[in-house]
Symmetry: C2
Subunit: 221 residues, 2 copies
């Protein structure tokens, strides 16, 4: 497969493919001559993964790069991989410098209490701890009271889901397949979950706030 064909089947413009090559997101093709290279299925697959992570997952290329590096790092233990993927994912990673966010409301300790309540054992440095604390802090700043019980309710809802997701990671197959499964599961199913929550909200919101329930096929806006 030459670069133009790769471009056509993936839907990614040739200059962009070249850009990804330069950026090291995509391995170079098999050079046949000084101006000819051959690309295979693994290139197509990687390209699709990159676009899935950016378009659906909303990752930036820097984050995609970190995830791909973790996928390709044969030495990285499997149980570290999720952490790396998540670290790459969290909004406001090493770049966006959130201020230490004076935690006078005790959002951080609320997170600790929640984890204890749920029996979740999570690395103290897990970036999601900080995101969660930040979100709770922000809610309180907007005068929204969030109790541990509220959080527990949310936590229970995702607990089974997460357990099942982890359980469905295959234990056979090549390492790269397993790893890709975990990453895709983390990133893309997040989009799925978000979309579903919004659909559910719209349904319940319509039932509560709509004056007369419409014929249900009303395309407004």
């Amino acid at each position: 497969m030459r670069i133009s064909e790769l471009s056509v089947v993936s839907g990614v413009p040739v200059p962009t493919v070249k850009f990804y090559l330069r950026e090291g997101l995509l391995a170079a093709g098999d050079a046949r001559a000084v101006n000819q290279a051959e690309y295979g299925d693994e290139h197509l697959r990687r390209l699709r993964l990159i676009r899935a992570l950016t378009d659906v997952g909303g990752l930036r290329l820097r984050e995609v790069r970190a995830v791909l590096a973790a996928i390709d790092d044969e030495l990285m233990p499997l149980h570290d991989l999720l952490g790396v993927a998540q670290y790459a994912l969290v909004r406001g990673g090493p770049n966006e410098s959130h201020p230490p966010a004076d935690d006078s409301g005790g959002a951080t300790s609320d997170v600790d209490r929640l984890l204890a309540e749920m029996g979740w054992h999570v690395n103290a440095a897990a970036p999601s701890r900080r995101s969660l604390a930040q979100a709770i802090f922000t809610l309180r700043e907007l005068r929204w009271d969030v109790s541990i019980d509220d959080l527990v309710r949310y936590a229970r809802a995702v607990d089974d889901l997460a357990a099942e997701e982890v359980a469905t990671v295959p234990d056979h197959g090549s390492r790269s397949q397993i790893v890709e499964h975990m990453v895709v599961g983390t990133v893309i199913f997040e989009a799925v979950l978000t979309a579903l929550r919004r659909l559910a909200q719209e349904h319940h919101s319509a039932r509560r706030f709509a004056k007369r329930p419409r014929l249900a096929n009303d395309a407004r806006r």
Copy 2:
């Protein structure tokens, strides 16, 4: 309150506050003289909301503007507001032009089937429909089979949550309070849910993949 004080208590630099004023995200202060204006609590509150939406919710300013406009539009029916908020939220709104994404896998009709299965009545033009279909399509492109049953499992997990969220929207208080509640609930709790899912994943992943399970005196539920 003068602009410098507003800046200090909100943690937003003065030039940025000025920028928001220019952009119409923040109402002008009460002018006392040609170079003096007074800002009140509502300015602080609005400023905090802007930062919450951008920092925690990950919205762009254009989207924030749309949400704020909806909040301030006294004529907009309450049950349309969630839609507007969501429309502003969806990745790839009017700007990022996703291709129609040749839906040969039938992701769109799967979404329809799922909605029927759940009994959810959702506007045909709801942007979340498209996001969900896009995510499903992407998963299948990555050779991940997603069944309706899988989706239903996810949907059930968020159904109760969404119902409760909608139920806790107060029916008293000023319109702007109600509206702000809905927006904050949609946007910020999404961040909460995401963080919780990742924490749960990390816990379950550690239990499965860590070589030696730790002392593990964790009574789950």
